[in-house]
């Protein structure tokens, strides 16, 4: 089975968020970048588990600059066999999806599996766009994925529960929590990752459909109103009269 895992690079959760150039650019000052958690912990690890059980190959693809090498090597250390980096600035989801779809067209993947939304733009776009560009079925928010005889059985989240579905491969999956257990790369993996192939390719000329015009930070930190623990009635009054939520 041949599996493609698109991975994104995002600021670490604990990063301080700031903007420059009149609030039009994200400030990378002092920011540590990591692999998007749902791409790494769930999509990549599940892909590696399936390959280890059933044989095949796991390829990771990243759209971004050379500074993503550390993240790509980590993916190889976790268990991917080779990597492709499309050398371009990933500013628009459609542009990114078009790069991934073009690569996927050149190789016959049985499964494309990526994480749910990235933790920077929280947009949840790339998986669905890749599926549509390739005219493939896609299932999102997948918590469980088993593959047998070319059919994927999945459990996906719906409002208030889960739904179990079957879809024939090839297929695109957007992974979320519970799909796999995060892996910490071991020494053998880290050493091996250094010699695994990483191909750098130029971007195709896909257009960009959206752009960010401005960013803004919340106007001011919230000022918490403390209520005495012996005066709980005051909380109920404030929730009703001031906040108007009950």
């Amino acid at each position: 089975m041949k599996i493609l895992v698109p991975i994104a690079k995002v600021p670490d959760t604990t990063s301080k968020i700031g903007f420059t150039d009149g609030n039009t650019k994200f400030s990378t000052d002092g920011v540590t970048f990591i692999m998007n958690p749902t791409d790494e912990w769930y999509a990549l690890v599940r892909a590696c588990e399936l390959k280890e059980k059933q044989g095949g190959e796991v390829v990771v693809i990243h759209v971004g600059g050379a500074d993503a090498e550390q993240i790509i090597r980590k993916a190889l250390a976790i268990g991917a066999d080779r990597a492709v980096r499309v050398d371009a600035d990933p500013t628009d989801a459609y542009f990114v999806a078009a790069q991934i779809a073009e690569h996927a067209k050149s190789e016959n993947y049985d499964l494309i599996i990526t994480g749910k939304e990235t933790i920077d733009y929280n947009s949840f776009q790339v998986g669905g766009m890749v599926a549509e560009l390739l005219d493939l079925p896609c299932v999102a928010l997948v918590q469980k994925l088993e593959i047998e005889n070319g059919v994927a059985t999945m459990k996906r989240e719906i409002e208030g529960g889960t739904e179990t579905v079957e879809v024939k491969l090839p297929l695109v999956v957007c992974a979320q929590k519970e799909l796999a257990e995060a892996r910490i790369p071991n020494m053998k993996g880290i050493m091996g990752a250094r010699s695994k192939p990483l191909a750098v390719v130029a971007a195709n000329g896909a257009e960009k459909l959206t752009a960010v015009s401005t960013y803004s930070l919340p106007e001011k930190a919230k000022e918490v109103k403390l209520i005495d623990k012996d005066n709980v009635a005051e909380l109920i009054r404030l929730l009703h009269e001031e906040a108007k939520v009950i």
């Binding site: 766009m129 299932v139 999102a140 208030g160 015009s213 960013y215 918490v224 209520i227 404030l238």
Partner: protein, 325 residues
Amino acid sequence: MAVLSFVEVSEGKIKKASVEAAYYGSKTAEALGTDSVAVVLGEANAEELATLGQVGVKKVLHAADAKLNHFDSRAYTKAVAAAADAAGADVVVLSFNNNGKLLAPRLSVKLKAGYVPGAVELPQFNGGSASVKKNVFSGKASATFTVATGKKVISVNPNSLSPVRGGGSATVETFNAALTDADFNVVVKGVDKVVGEIPLTEAELVVSGGRGLKGPENWHLVTDLAKELGAATACSRAVADVDWRPHHEHVGQTGLTVRPNLYIAVGISGAIQHLAGVNGSKVIVVVNTDPEAPFFKAADYGIVGDAFEVMPKVLEEYRKFKAAH
């Protein structure tokens, strides 16, 4: 020209998130001086669909094909694109809910339309381009996206706006999405819904507990109040990880994102990963013994105190309030 909203029906009722999407669609149509049209896929009661008129929808295109009763992203994309075509829609609005999160980006590709996911405000139009604000960095900042493509797709963050209902009634028209068997890929084998509980992501009120409650046997402190309020229950990651509570209640960066009107956090310190899942809540109440708990910085109201002492009082005072109102 028209604005088309995608509306989902679950167990005979229009989903709350879809009412918000339809309302957003109607407001957008109003700003553009055009009509608000909705599309519904799968079997549904026409009387229920007509109530979309209350949030400004003029016409509902209803593809009552039983094959569309279950969500299949590829087939749904074709059907909604066909509806957009039939309605002459330039803007398609969906909810940024479980199905919308997948359907919207597919539609964006299908219609070659710029897409803004998770809008928190109505769009601003300037000539042919639209500016739409959304939350980014897990609610730590906002970004305004500009979409200049002729067609546009917008998904709306649940609980971002409160639909105002009027007295209208929408006309319901049968719509043929012209799908063939080859358009369907997904076979549904089973649905496992937690019965009798309010779905967390649809809830307007949420009561959530953390490690401060010391053990699953103390969860009545959360559930009793939730029941009285008609709220959903949630928990922190630490609590789900030790199986005090089911995983589907875990709210945070790697769990669910909720945006209720009221989020009451009991015995949760408020690590940044947890806050990422609740930042969008309208009002946050924190009960914690530790006055230095980071959650207080993100809260609107706080009580420094022991949950075992405070929560029974909250329940009692709320019961009194309910009796008086």
